[in-house]
């Protein structure tokens, strides 16, 4: 892909995007393929190496392959073909685990998740390796369907960009939790539409940045129907000269009364050379809604640090405990215990390395 096709950071929606890191990742020389273990869960396992399925290492279960209806998004449009998970109404499937290994340069992959009425699905994705991994994921949830998704970015280098588009039907529920705990740059770019009455979306995560890395999320949630609720809870932890940016927007259509929206964006600076950008946005056209929003950036509580030290805990350990507590309420949203433990372990490993 030519650099000329990239969006411009002069556009408001891209102002914090680290497109230089993206271009550099796309130009990365090949690296040795890293191994990554699947979690101990039943269900389908998909291993993609540079966006290509490693059939020998995968069990497909209900997953099929083909073209995915395209997006016109600046990054999402580069991914056109990929995997598809379709569940019939009233079915529940074991978790689908996907590991994406990148070995340099760029790779693009699309995905489609379609849950019919009252179907229940779970997807766990992990990104490892180096290079630019670009993903487009299109989700459609029928009436009462429930999807739980957990995505962790653990590439030591390179860039991961995710474009996610979802339509959430009547009384359906989408819960997605991200963890950015690798050394890669990232952009999580999402448009969620609550298209049915009483739809529920929970979309959040923790971005942990170090060195000169930049990670960001840019999420828009559109409440098109009444009685919907959405929660966007994001935590950013930035060390050294890194930058973490959280932009979360809620739009409430004129007739989407009784919408309950919550945005909680909080940043923690581990060093004064680091940057956290927060941008909560509200566009409300209905008159009977509840939209709470909070945005704070701060440092670790020095009084708490001394209190813990005075009880015998070394300062670096006290910092790790406090930072873990800062991101814990986001990771606690992961319902699957095995997945949650793995994500918490990744966050702790990041903290041990950064502090």
């Amino acid at each position: 892909m030519s650099v000329l096709e990239l969006p411009s950071t002069r556009a408001e929606a891209w102002r914090w995007a680290d497109l230089g890191a993206l271009s550099a990742a796309a130009a990365m020389a090949p690296v040795v393929r890293t191994e990554h273990e699947f979690l101990d869960l039943p269900g389908a396992r998909l291993l993609f190496v540079d966006g290509v399925l490693d059939e020998a290492a995968s069990t497909l279960g209900a997953v099929t392959f083909g073209e995915v209806a395209g997006s016109d998004h600046a990054l999402g449009r580069h991914a056109r073909a990929g995997w598809s998970l379709r569940l019939d109404s009233r079915t529940a499937a074991d978790p689908v685990q996907i590991v994406h290994v990148a070995t340099g340069a760029e790779n693009h992959l699309a995905a489609e998740i379609v849950l019919a009425d009252d179907a229940v699905g779970e997807v766990v994705e992990t990104f490892v390796g180096a290079g630019w991994a670009n993903r487009y994921t299109r989700t459609t949830l029928g009436r009462g369907a429930r999807l739980m998704r957990s995505v962790r970015l653990l590439q030591p280098a390179g860039f991961v960009s995710l474009r996610e588009e979802a339509d959430i039907g009547e009384a359906a529920s989408l819960v997605t939790t991200f963890l950015g705990a690798g050394g890669q740059g990232s952009r999580i770019d999402a448009q969620l539409n609550l298209t049915g009455e009483g739809a529920f979306a929970e979309y959040g995560g923790a971005l942990l940045t170090s060195d000169t890395q930049a990670q960001e999320c840019a999420v828009r949630v559109n409440h098109a129907q009444p009685n919907g609720s959405s929660r966007q809870v994001w935590r950013a932890v930035a060390a050294y000269r890194s930058r973490a940016s959280l932009a979360a927007a809620v739009e409430v259509a004129r007739h989407a009364q009784k919408t309950d929206g919550e945005q909680s964006l909080r940043g923690l600076l581990l060093h004064r050379t680091a940057t956290v950008n927060l941008k909560p946005e509200l566009e409300i056209f209905a008159d009977d809604v509840k939209c709470a929003h909070g945005a704070t950036v701060g440092e670790l509580d020095q009084r708490a640090l001394f209190y813990m030290q005075s009880r015998g805990i070394p300062r670096s350990r006290a910092q790790a405990i406090l930072t873990h507590a800062f991101v814990a309420d986001v990771l606690e949203r992961i319902g699957n215990e095995t997945v949650r433990a793995a994500f918490e372990g990744d966050a702790d490993a990041w903290l041990d390395a950064a502090l």
């Binding site: 509580d301 020095q302 009084r303 708490a304 001394f306 209190y307 813990m308 030290q309 005075s310 009880r311 015998g312 805990i313 070394p314 300062r315 350990r317 405990i321 406090l322 873990h324 507590a325 800062f326 814990a328 309420d329």
Partner: protein, 247 residues
């Protein structure tokens, strides 16, 4: 056990302690009384090693070691416990996790084996029961949503679990009602009234000293010990006020 000589300390360049000397022997309980702003809490924080409290002159020796050379967590492992006037709230960290981390960090520094989760819980539950603290509070985040009295009681539960050699208790009696004062006072006596332990009680008022009988009472005024005596000095202070006695 503790020997402070000619201690000068300042905060943001402002002198607070101006030549304080004090010796506490093993098995003794000392009370430090004094008016607001005399430097009582500063003394506690300097002993604990709080950042921002700069010692400009003098020395503090604890069990023959130079306390000022030690990091705060090393002081804790050496046996120093600082009971806070305003215990800090730590959202997201449970009391159990905090206390177990504390105890095991200290044990690790002393080359002792860490306690398992079960061993620790047994110890913590027993100590909470002795201080009449609901065991459920052990599961709650540290001091979050605790009343003033509950926070102070929690400090005593921590002290009981850690069982330090030397405790500095800063205004442990403030915020306590009469019943809680008795429970906390009994706790201090039970945990610390030992031949090999000692206590520095920092207090405004005589009332805690009705429960915890000090061996020595000091008056701290304007950064220095101005008078030292027995328990009767505390009663005299209560009767006559600091202005008379401290001068």
């Amino acid at each position: 056990m503790l020997k402070i000589e000619n201690l000068h300390a300042e905060i943001d360049g402002k002198p607070i302690l101006k030549g304080l000397s004090l010796t506490v022997n093993a098995g003794e309980i000392h009370a430090i009384m004094g008016p607001n702003g005399a430097g009582k809490s500063t003394l506690g924080y300097v002993l604990g090693g709080r950042p921002g409290y700069e010692v400009t002159e003098g020395s503090i020796t604890f069990d023959g070691q130079d306390l000022l050379e030690m990091e705060p967590h090393e002081r804790a492992a050496a046996g120093v416990f600082l009971g806070f006037q305003y215990p800090v709230e730590i959202p997201g960290v449970s009391n159990v996790q905090f206390l177990r981390e504390s105890l095991n960090a200290q044990r690790g520094q002393r080359d002792e084996k860490p306690l398992s989760g079960a061993e620790f819980l047994k110890l913590a539950r027993a100590e909470a029961a002795r201080l009449e603290m609901d065991a459920e509070m052990l599961k709650r985040p540290v001091n979050v949503g605790f009343s003033g009295g509950e926070k102070k009681r929690n400090e005593m539960v921590q002290m009981g679990i850690i069982s330090p050699k030397f405790a500095i208790l800063d205004e442990t009696d403030s915020g306590l009602d009469i019943d809680a004062l008795r429970i906390v006072g009994d706790g201090i006596n039970r945990i610390m009234r030992q031949p090999d332990k000692s206590v520095l009680l920092i207090t405004h008022y005589q009332r805690l000293l009705d429960y915890v009988k000090p061996d020595v009472v000091h008056v701290l005024a304007d950064g220095r010990i101005t008078r030292t005596g027995g328990p009767e000095l505390a009663q005299q202070l209560e009767r006559e006020g600091y202005a008379e006695v401290a001068a």
